[in-house]
């Protein structure tokens, strides 16, 4: 028996199986006995026909009245199921014949003295001897008279009657009986099933209620209880389940309490950590701002200083100061980039662009650095167009090239692009020291430098790949590293291929600085050192500068001057007007809403970036590189024109 059966199935089986067996056995028994009865009755009826005919035809056979016999035979044929009738005399001669007696059934042509029934095919043949009716004459006295002839015992057979009956009738009856029997079994089975199903509900009901309750408890409804009905094991089962549910409820409550306690503690810790993080961010932002202010000024001073004619010694000194300042600026730029990317305020501007100009620019920028290190930097010319943000791609490639140059002591570096169906695979290959397999993930973390335990300044900061990873994530490009230590590395990014478009206008970066001559610029900065440095730089480019340490003073100066400025450069953090955004808004209110303006800030926090972004003002971080300042001014004035 299948052990997976449920209670209901078992109960139904227990109820149905004996019933089924009984129904089948009884039906089979009664059907077989009924079939035998039908057969017997049919034979008896047929024999009765024959005897009837024998009785009726005795005298006709005795008297040789064949006409009467023919009439009798014809009358017998009218009986149900009779297909043929024959009457024969004692020599087997046919005296009368009616219907179609079957010819295939052989029988003794001679005398028969007892009834015979022969069944062949669908015909039942009854042969009955015609014996004279015996009238008792032996009353003792007659016997005495005929004593000598008393051996005369054998009855004189007059002839025989043959009746053929069709079995079709009985066969159809049998078929009907079989049909009825099968139908009965079927009906009994259905009835039993229905009864068993309803009975099993009664039997399995309490257990199924317990099962349902256990299931609910399992789903967490610990308040569920089983109604206690009946007695015996059913009762103890229900009680046990209820007890278990109560136990579970108390355990659950206890656990909840502990979890709540632990959660509260965790929340407190988290808040503490967040507070600490915020404090750190504030500190970093402030420190960054405060570091950038003097760096900005320093850059401007150096730029101004280099404008003047100096002797060679001083020029070399100025160059060295400039290089140091640039390294510092690079560091601050990288930190700024990271914080920008982490703040999520950078929105890539995706378009189709040719790769070759970018390759050339990037390689050109790194060429001198490569040459210094005795490396061969080559690009493989390409005519592919990519679909991405060209500025960010340029930044990525620059970082990758710079990284490759740093970690390649000798050999060469190659920048190439391969077409891979709808993707372009841009690769930077080097013959450098390579990256061990276990280090391939950590190289993308900030300040990780594999071959710089002493953290030498000339080997970079360890931020290049961190920025690359943030940029590829932002653009949704796949970044792939293949490397074997000692043989070199391949950094690859996969970029969607783009369709060539008509040449875009030349980048503003290609503008010549001479165009700034005579441009009238309003400058606001509360830091006198930065204000002075910026003023000096702008003036060295030939700009007319109106500089003030706050907006009010600027207004006064501008009114006194009587001319409208062509651009405004404003520090973000001002003592009087709050923020530079508000100052610019005030200046624009006074001098026209389309007055080009840019913000300068020493803050690297995401909040300043967000505000500048919302106000649609370009933001320059201190220390501002002179080249970038010029580019911004160029763009602002060109757009305005």
């Amino acid at each position: 028996m299948n052990v997976n059966w449920g209670i209901r199935s078992r109960v139904i089986l227990v109820a149905v199986l004996p019933m089924m067996v009984l129904a089948i056995v009884l039906t089979a028994f009664y059907m077989s006995s009924r079939l035998a009865d039908i057969e017997d009755a049919y034979t008896a009826r047929s024999t009765a026909f024959a005897r009837q005919l024998v009785a009726a035809s005795e005298y006709a056979v005795f008297s040789g009245n064949n006409d009467a016999l023919q009439q009798l035979a014809a009358a017998m044929l009218a009986e149900d199921g009779v297909v043929g009738v024959m009457v024969m005399d004692r020599f087997g001669e046919i005296l009368a014949r009616s219907g179609k007696p079957a010819s295939g059934i052989g029988f003794d042509k001679g005398l028969v003295t007892t009834s015979l029934s022969v069944s062949a095919g669908d015909t039942l043949r009854i042969i009955e001897p015609i014996l004279p009716t015996r009238v008792e004459l032996d009353d003792g006295l007659s016997a005495a008279v005929f004593e000598s002839e008393s051996a005369w015992q054998m009855p004189p057979v007059l002839g025989k009657v043959v009746i053929d009956l069709s079995r079709t009738h009985i066969d159809s009856k049998r078929a009907e009986l079989l049909r009825t029997g099968v139908l009965t079994v079927f009906v009994v089975l259905i009835g039993t099933l229905a009864l068993a199903a309803s009975m099993s509900r009664g039997v399995s009901g309490p257990i199924r209620r317990v099962a349902a309750a256990v299931e609910k408890i399992g789903q967490g409804q610990f308040s569920e209880r089983v109604p206690i009905v009946g007695g015996g094991s059913l009762r103890s089962l229900a009680e046990g389940v209820n007890e278990m549910a109560a136990e579970l409820t108390s355990m659950h409550d206890e656990m909840n309490r502990r979890i709540n306690e632990a959660t509260a503690e965790l929340r407190e810790r988290k808040e503490e950590a967040e507070r600490a993080n915020m404090a750190k961010s504030r500190f970093l932002a402030a420190a960054s701002h405060d570091l950038r202010q003097p760096m900005h000024a320093l850059g401007l001073f150096i730029a101004e200083l280099s404008q003047h004619k100096q002797n060679s010694n001083r020029e070399r000194l100025i160059e060295q100061i400039s290089a140091s300042a640039e390294a510092m600026e690079d560091l601050l730029d990288s930190l700024l980039d990271i914080s920008k990317l982490d703040a999520g305020v950078l929105e890539p501007s995706v378009r189709s662009f040719a790769l070759q100009p970018i390759f050339e620019r990037v390689a050109g920028a790194q060429q001198s650095f490569a040459r210094e290190r005795g490396l061969e930097l080559r690009i493989r010319p390409t005519d592919q167009w990519a679909l991405s943000d060209p500025v960010l791609i340029e930044r990525i490639l620059g970082n990758l090239l710079s990284n490759a140059i740093r970690y390649t002591p000798a050999g060469r570096i190659m920048l190439a692009c391969r077409k891979r169906s709808e993707y372009l695979r841009i690769e930077v290959r080097d013959s450098g020291i390579g990256i061990p397999a276990d280090a391939r993930t950590i190289i993308f973390q900030e300040f990780v430098q594999l071959d710089n335990p002493e953290r030498a300044r000339d080997k970079g900061l360890g931020l290049g790949l961190a920025i690359v990873r943030r940029l590829t994530d932002l653009l949704g490009h796949r970044l792939d590293v293949r490397s074997s230590p000692g043989r070199g590395s391949v950094f690859a990014i996969e970029v969607s291929a783009g369709a060539p478009v008509a040449d875009s206008p030349e980048s503003s970066q290609t503008r010549t600085p001479g165009e700034l001559t005579g441009i009238r610029i309003a400058l606001v900065d509360d830091d006198p050192l930065a204000l002075s440095a910026m003023n000096g730089l702008l003036r060295s480019w030939g700009c007319e500068v109106v500089a003030a340490h706050d907006a009010t003073t600027l207004f006064d100066l501008l009114i006194a001057d009587g001319r409208i400025p062509q651009a405004v450069i404003c520090d973000f953090r001002l003592a009087e007007f709050g923020t530079g955004i508000e100052a610019i808004r005030a200046i624009r209110a006074r001098f026209g809403s389309d007055l080009p303006a840019a913000l300068i800030t020493g803050d690297t926090g995401p909040d300043v970036l967000g505000l500048a972004h919302d106000a649609q003002l370009p933001l320059l971080h201190k220390p501002v590189r002179p080249a970038r300042l010029r580019a911004i001014l160029n763009r602002l004035i060109t757009n305005c024109d």
Binding site: E58, Y59, F62, S63, G64, L131, P132, T133, R134, V135, E136, L137, D138, D139, G140, L141, S142, A143, A144, V145, F146, E147, S148, E149, S150, W152, P155, P156
Partner: protein, 309 residues
């Protein structure tokens, strides 16, 4: 003890003698040998015993079967009575020294048995009725019927011829038909009863038996003809009339004959039974539309006629 023996010794010595005398007195004088021990045979035997007790209480009767007769000592037997033809044949074969009375034998049978032996002094009471009595009975019962039909088998053509002669003398128009088997029976009956006639059945087992009697009666009924039988069974089966002697009547006649032997006389000559019965089936008569005379009338007519003779 000794005195007891001495006192009774004479009795003890005479006892065998006394027993011997008693044995002689108790020896049966009549031995009845019966073909069968039941039915009509038993009734005849009982009638003989009963009648003999009345007429001669001293007479002792012993009834044995014919099988028992073979081993039976005949010492002290004065006469033997046989019942039935088989017993008659058995006893004649044994040839006992004493006279034998045969009962319940047909006349023809007795004649055949008697011719096979040289014995004299034996007698018989026939079971069948004399031909003239039968013809006379028919005449008495159905005075207006003139035609008499007879069917003879191979065994009975002499009897039939005898009957035909007497009937002819009695003024009947006699139609006789001889057949060889019962298959010719219907044709013969059709022929002899083409006009209504009284069919007189004869004791021929091949023609008149329990299997044929139904069809014979049916045929004769359809020919509007009555059948006259020779036993009460015939009357019950559907014959109009039958003349027969009962076992009691035969037994009484036998007892009378034995009495005369026991009293020193001789057996009377062989004869038919003096007493007889007439059976009439009135239902058959009504069916045929015949009005026969009553049994008593017929008997008295026959009695008168026999007294005259």
């Amino acid at each position: 003890m000794t005195s007891w023996l001495r006192a009774r010794l004479p009795i003890l010595l005479f006892m065998p003698l006394l027993l011997c005398v008693a044995g002689v007195r108790a020896a049966p004088a009549v031995l009845v040998v019966s073909s069968e021990m039941d039915g009509a045979y038993e009734q005849v035997a009982n009638a003989i015993t009963r009648e003999l007790q009345l007429s001669d209480p001293a007479a002792a009767v012993d009834i044995v079967s014919r099988e028992a007769f073979r081993a039976r000592s005949l010492d002290g037997i004065r006469t033997i009575v046989t019942i039935g033809a088989l017993a008659a044949g058995e006893v004649i074969l044994a040839a006992p020294p004493m006279p034998v009375l045969h009962t319940l034998v047909p006349r023809e049978t007795f004649a055949r048995l008697a011719s096979s032996t040289t014995r004299t002094g034996d007698s018989a009471i026939f079971v069948d009725q004399p031909a003239d009595r039968q013809i006379a009975a028919i005449r008495a019962a159905l005075p207006e019927w003139q035609r008499l039909a007879l069917i003879a088998g191979p065994q009975t053509h002499e009897l039939v011829a005898h009957l035909a002669r007497i009937a002819g003398a009695e003024g009947f128009e006699v139609v006789v038909r001889e057949i060889k088997s019962d298959r010719e029976l219907f044709a013969a009956m059709q022929q002899i009863m083409s006009r209504p006639a009284v069919l007189l059945a004869v004791p021929d087992g091949e023609i008149f038996n329990s299997h044929t009697i139904q069809n014979i009666l049916l045929t004769s009924y359809r020919q509007r003809s009555p059948v006259v039988g020779f036993s009460p069974a015939y009357v019950r089966a559907g014959a109009l009339l039958a003349l027969y002697a009962t076992p009691a009547q035969i037994g009484k006649q036998a007892a009378d004959a034995i009495s005369s032997v026991l009293n020193g006389g001789r057996l009377p000559p062989p004869s038919h039974s003096h007493e007889y019965e007439v059976g009439v089936n009135l239902t058959v008569a009504r069916s045929l539309g015949i009005h026969p005379r009553s049994a008593e009338t017929i008997k008295s007519v026959l009695n008168r006629r026999e007294i005259v003779e």
